[in-house]
Symmetry: D3
Subunit: 289 residues, 6 copies
């Protein structure tokens, strides 16, 4: 169960309206790595958690914080929209191309659909979808998803910080960026803890002798030229400490040339010359009736 | 540019048809962490790469390999569909509930739409979407995305391995699982290399003094009870070695109570008693014409 | 079955082309509450109607009218696009930022994809989806959906009316707005009629003694502060006249602390220290083959 | 800002696992009228609210409650999945068609993707999308959306109640159904309050003389036969008390026969015999370079 | 404008209910090549038509017919759902695995969401989307789209015919299949007519000297082995009669090795060792404030 | 299996950056008829091919070429983005409306999400979806899909050619346009070959006596006025040479007036006055527990 506190977690006050920037800021509200994604991701990971209680609690704590971040961004966007020159004729009367540019650069749904309110969409107006949410039941896998989400999310917040000079917006972003610093640290810590308790390859519980082990540590070079041999991934001990990396400069195909069976007549794929006619078959269906 | 080799990278031959399993196997072909996702993700990361050439080459090598995995899975699924009892009346004539069950468990589009061919969809028939593809231009962020994708992907392949006893299917999966072992190792190695060249917090280039540093290392407990204090993320040195973790048992709101301005009249939000009538305004529009 | 009449239901002629406005007008053609939505919603409600014939007929009458509204909007948009400065070089030669702004503000698919034709998309280019369509089989529920659709739709049409000064566009919108006035009235009338024949809570046929009646009339205050106590919903007789509203200032949790079972080994969730190894289990699968 | 309470708002404990029912129950978690929809809808309406404070508070109170309903459903679904016979060979060994039927009837992503956890999807596995969320800035419009959502939602919960005999599941549903009774009452009360303060036609602030008033109260019969004349919507005073309903048995077209201009040459639509060749035009582009 | 006729265009009466088949039949109602697609496609092509009037009229005639097909399919599906054993306990009481299989094979939304009504979705429950609709403004291109749609549509209807023995369903399908025969013929005729008036390559109005003509008639073999040389496309006169086909057994790359510029500092892509620090740049932003 | 060649198939070098054009060019990368669509379509048709080997090989050859086209477009777009004025303040400082216009006209995700890289989306930012991919198993049907895709694709490339004067972009487009010329020719040739081996109506294997032959060659005029009678489709021999076209000026309805059964009580549709109360029924459920 949840309770709402009326104050925001941190201030969300722009210095002046900026409806074009409001459109951009939607990315970290309703985009693939926006706050709705991490909110839903951590809450669902917590609710589905079948592991130790401390993980469930940690996930629900951070998921609950992310609801507050959604709230901050929605509040900020609504205020950035305050000055929307929604009346086209204002621009026309003024013959002011800059105003017209603003109109062109806005998300039109901010006027027509939400009436100067935030939407749960990204910066191109694409709606948030739960396919962004990752919750597999395997915590090591999911903490890697979370570390990625916090990395992509902080990167996007920084790019948005660079795209404005509004001190109020930057102040709010500096808070979100700092929390992303913590959250990257947090999931790195959780990953380290889990990797020490189990093997680092997810899932650690699958018996490795059941996999095709001769290709488990081979980098395969599928191009001419071998620049890809220069990385850490091509030589030395593997990261799971089970073997050494191997570089295969010219990987060979190990499988068959595919040769599919003809489809049965009732599928009506392309007839092949010489095939038995499916006509009799279809006719018999009718006679059954 | 690309060339096609007619042999598969590894064998993809089921021992017998199994159209219900074909539906499930679609998950690692066209699902969020299926082979189409990693194929597109690594190719786009490579094509967009503005970093060192070895990263571009590595990404395009592995992306090219993933096209071959898509090919293997498509071939396998087409063969698993060979025995589809597509004619409903066969089941009815037989009064055989097991056959009926198979019909109920199949993806109907495997008969009606693709004519016993694989589709670029997941196990519930949802189409693959490029919103699954992650390519940010920041390699450390993206390699974390890749490590996650290989973790989720191997987990799903293992669950599918557990869901069949067909030796041919298991043989193919044992190959894909082994490659996922390599690919998890590979991206762990690439991450380690990058983290040694830059700070581990993405993006490492944003000056940390610009973020709200008092909350950069604090775990905030947004629930009653403190199970979440027991993890590595709540105490000790932070993973980026810049500070120590702090546990805040009762985080306080630091922001304002939001109070939005009334919308301008031409937005036609809810009128508030005492507000100036917007009627005059609308009427004047007409007089302008 | 349907017949087409070549005249439009009402005039749809802009005074001059305006490709930026064409993009906006798409919202009430292909958006969530655009004419395609109500067309499909009323037609499907009519075709699925298992109630009295007068409801089916009414729904199909209005659904048929909405096809004509789709036609009017498509025709209007095609004409608004007539003057699209599709050739980028015209703007460049002119060094005319206003023209460039127009180019930036257009929907590029109006040139590239539809060749100056209307699309079945909304104002941000998102395609119409049938998930917008509501048809539940329960007419009281669905008439509430319809009243909502006509309310949102008229609101959006009014906002678009405010966003243009073109007399031809305003003339067409004044017709659509008037029809929305009628359609709001119409569904209010139909709702009143149904509410008088049955109880107003949907579905009226579920025996109320089967619901948890102690919470059926309680407003629960999930925040500090009690502004929410000031509304009609917090005191007085309930709208269904079965009880009085009750305001619960501090709602208590009534449920358990969730505690999920560990997943079976073949799911390969996070291993918990001390758990039986799943290795033997997986190995036995192989021995089965 | 939000806080999490570890107890559920109400019990969510099934008597026994039922993975096929888990798939169905997803509808009221992640479907169009599931708890995620109302949670997001009320929170966004509250955060975007520019009206009186009591409406904002009421919306955030109920939105916060809906997060708790999402939590209850996720917890219930995870437990219903406990007994999933995820290993196909169990069914095969048993030659038990009922077990096979269960496998066919499950959502395969409950095993492969979420590892026996709830997903933010509906009963056919379609992901939740924010296009379900309605928040227009006009409270009367939005309260009608909310009344509809609570009507559709209660109807679906009742149908799910009828589809199980599990006492634990029914107990939880009896709570949700009761809350939907309250929430229908609540939004009916809020609507009544707003309709008394303003005119009932949304938006009430648009001057009615600007709409095409001769069609504002006419029911138009777009079919042969006049069953649709029998309803309250066809005769008597209109619901907004501004006029009387009128029934038009044979509505006439009032608009033009559309006749679109030919597209400019650079659009490359179908050439019409006799049209000036666009070739010269394209060639001149090249000469510009 | 449109009028509704209460009779269906052709009978749509099943002999007995079959809710599993109802799920499958959704494919040709709401799938990619279902009747909604062709209805919307022909109507939008007609409304957007800037060519000769006879094409507009033909498109609107057939689009209007397709609304009637949507109506027939919706009516059929509602009747197929009549016998849905929606009450799970019936199956449980009976211990009848066939009934359980039916439940597993149904689309659960046919009970929970639409209350035994048709939905505008396909056979896996995926909603119809307007991205299926093709209308480019170029009639030759679009008539090819239409010929394809009628080919895919008839193929799917035939597969569904083969999947049932119900005489009523087959009777309706025999009508739709016959109309698809006509519609394939119709668009083949329209294509022939247009190809005789213009060149067959779409768009015919682009000056061919502006394309890279040395590759305009070459089949490029991107694999080892030359089975692809055996087709009509590899030798002989080209279909547009402008040249002869050429078979290139070993196509060479004609382009550059890509080498992208480093991103500017404010994008925060991966830093490259030796790069100027972006720190000063970000700091200066702050000083601007 | 596949191999990567580091050179592009053809040059992809813009003369200067143009981030607004980069947004438009996305249409033929990730749009409905972009290169990703044809890549996936031909590869899946090839992998699923159950026909003669020459068709499989041809499809995989062209599918492999299309991967190279995706690569060229991604490379081009990344370079067009080079000059993105991502820092908003540059525009503000300059008070330069043209720069502001560029910012408004860009796809904001090109900065925030992909860091100046191409995305697998279309020109309005909508993600590529596999529902664009057509692969039915019937080659004649699919070659018609392919001819359509190459027609729509070439049309869009030509419109984009007209929308730029950049010689480097035009050079690349001239190559893609030429390849589309070949690919239209190629599929026209393949269609001719298949139509000579089988009847032209897809699927040719369905016995025509099973379809409702009296409507197989009739054009039905669903409007007043007979402009549609002027086309080739209304008179003369049908294209499949089986009959003559017939023009039906006033098509009559041939079907029933639909009349659906009342839904069973547990569906809770609208109650009809006089219906048996469903209350007893629901109560008995409870007694079962």
């Amino acid at each position: 169960m949840f309770k709402h506190i009326k104050e925001l977690q941190y201030n969300a006050k722009p210095t002046k309206p900026d409806p074009v920037y409001a459109k951009k800021l939607q990315e970290i509200l309703g985009g693939q790595f926006g706050e709705i994604t991490v909110m839903m991701q951590y809450l669902f990971q917590g609710w589905n958690c079948r592991g130790e209680q401390k993980y469930r609690d940690m996930l629900l704590d951070i998921g609950t914080e992310e609801i507050a971040h959604v709230e901050m961004l929605a509040t900020m966007i609504a205020q950035l929209l305050d000055g929307a020159p929604a009346k086209e004729q204002d621009a026309i009367v003024d013959q002011n191309p800059a105003v017209e540019a603003v109109l062109g650069g806005m998300n039109p749904q901010h006027v027509i659909v939400s009436g100067l309110g935030a939407k749960a969409s990204d910066s191109v107006g694409y709606p948030w979808t739960s396919r962004y949410t990752i919750a597999s039941g395997n915590l090591l896998a999911d903490f890697r998803a979370n570390l990625n989400a916090e990395s992509q999310g902080r990167l996007q917040a920084v790019r948005l910080y660079e795209s404005t000079t509004d001190p109020g917006v930057r102040d709010m972003l500096s808070f979100l960026i700092a929390r992303d610093t913590m959250h990257q640290n947090q999931f790195m810590a959780a990953i380290e803890e889990l990797e020490q308790n189990q093997k680092p390859i997810v899932p650690s519980t699958f018996p490795q002798e059941l996999e095709k082990q001769e290709v488990s540590y081979s980098f395969m070079n599928f191009s001419e030229g071998e620049e890809s041999a220069q990385g850490r991934w091509a030589t030395g001990q593997s990261m799971d400490k089970q073997a050494n990396f191997e570089y295969i400069a010219n990987p060979e195909a190990m499988g068959q040339v595919p040769n599919l069976n003809q489809a049965p007549a009732y599928i009506h794929d392309t007839p092949i010359p010489g095939q038995t006619s499916p006509k009799a078959d279809s006719a018999s269906h009718t006679q059954n009736n």
